[in-house]
Symmetry: C2
Subunit: 212 residues, 2 copies
DNA sequence: GAACAATTGAAACAAACGTTTGTATCATAC
DNA sequence: GTATGATACAAACGTTTGTTTCAATTGTTC
């Protein structure tokens, strides 16, 4: 086998775009920066993909597919194990988040940036294609796990959870910077466990009742 | 008194920039879009402010000052009321978040976009100036409120909390869109109470101990 | 090894960007 | 009544953007 596999131009573009989109954002990343990083010609982006927007779709699609597949597999295993019993909220959260934390660190950061930041219209399409189906798949199990919450409350807390994860995914190195070196960043596994510990407790908190 | 006060060019630019930065982001918003929205001449941005970056600073500074002042006032009141007793975590969270939710809705959304999205170097300066001081002011009270957590855990959970709030602030209309109209968005007061309920429970969750 | 399609390369395109320029307008002060 | 300052304006600056063009090169198939 070859020591270093020859990487196709297409993949080199995807890798570079993923890196730069994650670090600088979509708008701020030029095709020239991408092709320079990838070591390929400028025109090859429009040749292999059709436009910068289509490149963004391809970058996301390459990662979202496997992640969502593993999410659904994990959910199915839980459903089979527990039959009709409600799935505990922390196991549900782990099924949803572990596949993301176990892949390349760049991916969640990039996705988070798109999640509520920029390229609004383009992201809308990405959301509909790659995130909405898996969200709909998890929704019933989530409802069953949270019988004490009204639908609006459960939904709002799921949003909080997404935000907490986003903060984790987006901010690589945030802890060192903000604490000025006094603290070390947790490993990915530690961070995942802390995220689940935090958000599961949030979900289990009593309903606020009347208000909402 | 005048029914509708004449708004200065400078303020019209600030208002328009705040609106467009919040909705489209910094990079994606051109000075031409800002001046068109404000109904002023293109050059007036570089006249009243010096650059697009400096305009961003001004937009943030106009809002961050009053908000942080009210945050610190609320914290002082809690400290005086409770003397040396630890401040309950939910009261601490309310002191921190209520001043933000009670101001113009655009502001938190805009700040969130900058918080871990774009204009990295510019935002670093904004963070150091407007957010770091108030964060340092709250830090000791937070530690005292969370004696069961290691410093790293407390810090990580504060990050989760920021992310949960960010999701709330960034996504105006998210609930209607994602739920496809089945749910109505909560009022700001309801959302704040839900945020505190969720994150306070997260903070109170037991330490994970050894790992981190 | 010739023929052909697929891919890459350098260069150029129009459009949009942030910024600068020079001048006009308007108060207020002398 | 004229000089002075701050502000507003239209126009153009040079640069960068995403995209296109077309010739050169590569890889594959007969």
């Amino acid at each position: 086998m070859t020591a270093l596999a020859p990487i196709s131009t297409k993949d080199r573009i995807l890798d570079a775009a993923e890196l730069l989109f994650a670090n600088d954002g979509f708008e701020a990343t030029s095709l020239r920066a991408i092709t320079a990083e990838a070591g390929v010609n400028l025109a090859s982006v429009n040749y292999h993909f059709q436009s910068k927007d289509a490149l963004l779709h391809a970058v996301v699609a390459r990662r979202a597919g496997p992640i969502n597949q593993r999410r659904i597999e994990a959910l199915q295993q839980l459903e089979e194990k527990l039959r009709n019993e409600p799935i505990p909220i922390d196991e549900l959260l782990e099924a949803f988040f572990r596949p993301v934390t176990e892949c390349n660190v760049l991916v969640p950061r990039m996705m988070v940036r798109f999640h509520y930041l920029e390229a609004r219209e383009t992201f809308r399409a990405i959301y509909e294609t790659h995130f909405k189906p898996v969200a709909n798949r998890f929704a019933p199990a989530l409802r069953k796990a949270l019988p004490h919450l009204k639908p609006e409350e459960a939904f709002l807390r799921m949003q909080f959870t997404m935000g907490a994860f986003a903060q984790l995914a987006a901010g690589s190195g945030t802890m060192e910077v903000v604490s000025e070196g006094r603290m070390h960043a947790p490993t990915r596994e530690e961070a995942l466990r802390q995220l689940i510990q935090f958000t599961a407790a949030g979900f289990r908190a009593p309903s606020l009742g009347a208000g909402l």
